[in-house]
């Protein structure tokens, strides 16, 4: 590559690294608009949760389904949820197991009585409303009863009905229909109920929510807010910790990491403890509506003995997990938890670039662009020196330097924490050095100073809202969403930055209920 071409690449990368999403002129007045969103298939988690809540089954048939393709950081993005014929065949297999399970329980909760025709006819409208998440029509019931009648025998008839209900596109997809009149419009209250329940519970609406859709409560701002609060209070809202935070903060990666046990004291017990700590930490922010900026700075965490000793609190007189004060230790918030420090590290060492990239992509929504072609070939990298020294030598190339100047200093700040999060003064090759300067000019001496800078960066709050919004909508926020994202951020800030409030603000926002009819050109 010629020198000129290299410069052009470098300048292009600089521009790409400096972008700041989501800023707008607050005086601008814009009509709310909604991007088109494709009909969404239930993903694996949603399928299993839905059959659990609909049928009371303990089976998890989707556990073995092919993994849902994730996109934009989440596995519930409508466009990425493709479907090949094999998946349909697997649905058919799963339904056989589910039918056998419900049948063995005397058809509860599908039917409230023995499966004779009168009982089925009486039970179907209620069951179909729950399963298809909308009121049943006369045609729906007639079609299902025809299947019942054709079977010629009560139990076989009930089985046929249940198979058809569970293989219906109304069950497997979240279908939203457009009125002929409007292009951008508010979805129906039943459709809104599904949007809410799959956002906050990763599951179907319960009866109370369907009733609120039926009687118009959801059309009323107060009624909607009350339902959202009720849903966040429900145990099922734990799905936000598992599925939203599990993906946003990459906690799910802990399942897959491996560590060289000759270098690190790592085993299944520690893996489980790391997961639990992160789960409890996020749960406390959600349940207590804690200021989400403190997720990066809090000096209390949740730890068992194993983690406490990793954090330098040796003789912990307790069993299980307790809330632990770490203010005497060099620890603060998510980015110094053992779990996060481990999940951002390869098996044998730390990766400052990986940690820096996580912070930029997941916490600030400023993902660095892909490395230029050939950038991973590091023929001339020195083989000696600390991880930091070697990385600094490697990115001296101006092609790499532009972006690494924003990625690496963040990662270097955490060099005191090894690949399982334990404190160290030296890495394998020398004394670690944690000071650095961000592209903005802000300087820090170590991780504890850096996390304060990050927590104060308005990009952290707006990025968190953007991540919640992406998960809630199952699509990328488009230019149409800039206004509403700004408004939600303002609302969250005015309310004291509570994490639970952020979910409430998204769920009750006007935009959350909007839909645009796709006009075929």
């Amino acid at each position: 590559m010629s020198t000129t071409a290299r410069w052009i690449v470098a300048l292009g990368l600089l521009a790409a690294c400096g972008q700041d999403p989501g800023s707008r002129d607050p005086t601008e007045s814009v009509e709310l608009e909604a991007p088109i969103v494709t009909v969404r298939r239930l993903n694996r988690v949603e399928y299993d949760n839905t059959v659990r809540d609909l049928l009371g089954t303990s089976l998890s048939p989707a556990r073995l389904f092919p993994t849902d393709t994730h996109a934009l950081g989440f596995d519930n993005v409508a466009d990425a949820l493709t479907l090949s014929p094999a998946q349909v065949a697997l649905y058919e297999l799963a339904v056989d197991d589910l039918v056998a399970d419900v049948r063995a329980r005397g058809w509860t909760p599908m039917l409230a009585c023995a499966p004779d025709r009168a009982c089925v006819e009486q039970s179907l409208p209620g069951f179909v409303r729950r399963a298809w998440r909308r009121p049943s029509t006369v045609e729906d019931i007639a079609g299902l009863l025809a299947l019942y009648d054709a079977a010629g025998e009560p139990d076989e008839g009930a089985a046929q009905v249940l198979r058809a209900v569970l293989l219906s596109p109304w069950f497997l997809f979240r279908i939203e229909r457009d009125p002929a009149s409007a292009v951008t419009h508010r979805v129906s209250d039943y459709e809104l109920a599904s949007r809410l329940s799959y956002f906050l519970w990763s599951s179907m609406p319960d009866d109370a929510l369907l009733d609120a859709a039926a009687d118009g409560t959801l059309s009323d701002a107060e009624g909607l807010a009350a339902q959202v609060r009720r849903m966040l209070d429900d145990d099922k809202a734990a799905s936000l910790v598992e599925h939203f935070a599990g993906q946003w903060l990459h906690v799910r990666l802990l399942d897959d990491i491996f560590r060289d046990d000759t270098r690190f004291s790592f085993d299944e017990e520690l893996r489980a403890s790391m997961r639990t700590e992160l789960r409890l930490l996020v749960t406390s922010f959600l349940e207590e509506d804690r200021d989400l900026r403190e997720l990066l700075t809090t000096t209390t965490t949740f730890a068992d003995r194993r983690l406490a000793s990793l954090y330098g609190i040796a003789s912990a007189p307790f069993d299980g997990f307790v809330e632990l004060d770490l203010s005497s230790r060099p620890r603060a918030g998510l980015l110094t938890t053992a779990g996060w420090l481990a999940l951002t590290s390869p098996p044998f060492r730390t990766s400052p670039a990986q940690r820096g990239k996580f912070v930029l992509s997941q916490l600030l929504c400023r993902p660095p662009p892909p490395p230029p072609p050939g950038a991973t070939v590091v023929e001339d990298a020195p083989k000696t020196g600390t991880t930091r020294e070697r990385l600094e030598a490697h990115v001296a190339d101006p092609q790499c330097a532009a972006c690494h100047a924003s990625i690496d200093p963040i990662g270097f700040a955490f060099e005191h924490y090894d690949a399982v999060g334990a404190w160290r003064d030296e890495d394998a090759n020398g004394v670690v050095q944690t000071d650095g300067v961000l592209p903005t000019g802000e300087a820090f001496g170590d991780a504890l100073e850096l996390v304060e800078i990050l927590a104060d960066d308005p990009a952290f709050v707006s990025c968190t809202v953007r991540q919640i919004y992406t998960f809630a909508r199952g699509r990328a926020p488009g230019p149409e969403d800039a206004v509403v994202l700004g408004d939600i951020v303002d609302e969250v800030a005015e309310g004291g930055y509570g994490l639970r409030s952020a979910f409430e603000a998204v769920a009750t926002s006007e935009a959350f209920a909007l839909r645009r009819r796709e006009v075929t050109p």
């Binding site: 088109i36 494709t38 009909v39 298939r41 073995l64 389904f65 092919p66 993994t67 393709t69 934009l72 950081g73 990425a80 493709t82 479907l83 090949s84 014929p85 094999a86 349909v88 065949a89 058919e92 297999l93 056989d96 197991d97 056998a100 079609g143 299902l144 299947l147 054709a150 079977a151 076989e156 046929q160 198979r163 293989l167 219906s168 596109p169 109304w170 997809f173 279908i175 229909r177 457009d178 599990g246 993906q247 990459h250 799910r252 990666l253 897959d256 060289d260 390869p346 098996p347 892909p370 230029p372 072609p373 050939g374 991973t376 070939v377 590091v378 009819r517 796709e518 006009v519 075929t520």
Partner: protein, 422 residues
């Protein structure tokens, strides 16, 4: 029928010994199509240590079978060569398409893979047109490869240019999928009744889906169209339940990789033997897999290792992994050759392709790709040296050898000559 009864029918004893569950199966291959050709594509991640590939060091496990194997050298998959990052995704997506993937996280678009093109001709009368198998579901979070859809990294088989074929990673589930509706203990009347029940439900669902589609916008119609197509395919399958005797594989699925692969090989042989499908793709790992091969004494992430930077120790590790991957493939070939199929063995009627998304993983190179063809359907063993021939031409040559006379695959419109004789 219930699948539970079929499991009971099998019994735990056969399961414990491992292979014998297969032996009772398919006593008579189905007569009419017994000699039909089969296509099998076997993918391994992260390229190959190319020096040991060329001197055939990593091919040692195939030494005794060298006559059944054609090594093709010097092929270039130019469409997979990207001007940006994403080389693993592009190479994986391009292995059976020779097409360039569109860079999008949410809207992958590529081309049909050769197993799909093959199945459009030879898969119409089998219960499954094609089957995609693997050993890894996929990373739990994050971006797969620099803005390229994760679908590119997890699939080599594409049903349509925008839809990957769902890949099954559980041997048991693969079995269930192949033999759904099959029950050796059921009476003819019971089977007929079950068939009719399934058909009525699928008819109901199909009609409902078709009607609903009419009310929706264009993108939604596409999604429900995929569903409808799947429903129609299952309806066809209900009419063509495999007729050979089959018992379920041991459960639970093995958790260690070598045993898991053995189980998948069992499923492949069973599927081909029973003519449940004629096209199988298998991914030994996902694109850029960072799996550790500690059971081979190579306890490093495979992808990390593939960026060897010329380090002899890392290259030695890659050679151990490469030889083991070839050994697994050799076991499949041995099993195929030990299985009767009409006038010969399954291997006589199979064309198998072994390759990776890259040649040298360190350089992310798409030229001089590692390629093995094996079996006795349409090819002759030996070595075919090409001088930068197109990867698409190889794919096209494979299809032509299997009587699928397509006019183009990816960037190629002339099939590679010399596969069957030189």
């Amino acid at each position: 029928m219930t699948r539970a009864s079929r499991r009971r029918f099998l019994g735990g004893a056969a399961a414990m010994i491992g292979l014998p569950w297969l032996e009772a199966l398919c006593p008579e291959a189905t007569a009419a199509d017994a000699r039909a050709s089969r296509l099998l594509c076997w993918y391994v991640p992260n390229g190959m240590p190319m020096e040991a590939w060329h001197d055939e060091g990593v091919l040692a496990p195939l030494a005794e079978r060298r006559d059944d194997v054609l090594v093709v050298r010097g092929l270039v998959n130019a469409p997979a060569e990207l001007p940006t990052a994403g080389q693993h995704a592009a190479g994986t997506a391009g292995m059976l398409t020779a097409a360039t993937p569109v860079r999008s996280e949410t809207h992958p678009s590529l081309g049909k893979s050769i197993d799909t093109l093959f199945a459009e001709v030879h898969g119409r009368h089998t219960p499954l047109p094609a089957l995609a198998l693997g050993t890894q579901d996929g990373d739990a979070v994050g971006n797969c490869d620099n803005g390229f859809s994760c679908a590119y990294s997890r699939h080599i088989s594409w049903v349509s240019p925008t839809t990957p074929r769902d890949k099954i990673t559980s041997p048991r589930l693969a079995f269930e999928l192949l033999f759904a509706g099959y029950d050796p203990t059921a009476s003819v009347t019971a089977l007929e009744r079950r068939r009719s029940e399934r058909t009525s439900v699928l008819d109901y669902v199909g009609e409902q889906t078709a009607a609903l589609r009419g009310e929706l916008g264009a993108s939604d119609r596409v999604k429900l169209g995929e569903y409808l197509e799947g429903v129609r395919e299952v309806e066809r399958r209900v009419q063509t339940i495999p007729t050979c005797d089959a018992d379920a594989p041991p459960e639970p699925d093995a958790s260690d990789l070598p045993t898991r692969i053995e189980q998948m090989i069992d499923v492949m042989v069973l599927a081909l033997r029973c003519d449940a499908t004629r096209a199988i793709t298998f991914m030994l790992g996902n694109s850029a897999s960072n799996r550790s091969f500690d059971f081979l004494g190579v306890p490093y992430g495979h992808h990390d290792l593939s960026h060897h930077q010329g380090d002899p120790e890392q290259i030695a590790g890659l050679e151990v992994i490469g030889r083991w991957e070839v050994e697994m493939f050799a076991r499949l070939l041995a099993r195929l050759d030990a299985t009767d199929d009409g006038d010969g063995t399954l291997l006589d009627h199979t064309l198998a392709l072994f390759s990776s998304e890259l040649s040298d993983g360190n350089a992310h190179a798409h030229d001089d790709l590692p390629a093995l063809l094996a079996g006795r359907a349409g090819i002759a063993g030996g070595t075919l040296q090409t001088d930068g021939a197109r990867w698409g031409a190889l794919l096209m040559g494979i299809l032509h050898a299997l009587d699928v006379p397509v006019a183009r695959v990816g960037d190629a419109d002339v099939p590679l000559a010399g596969l069957s004789s030189r």
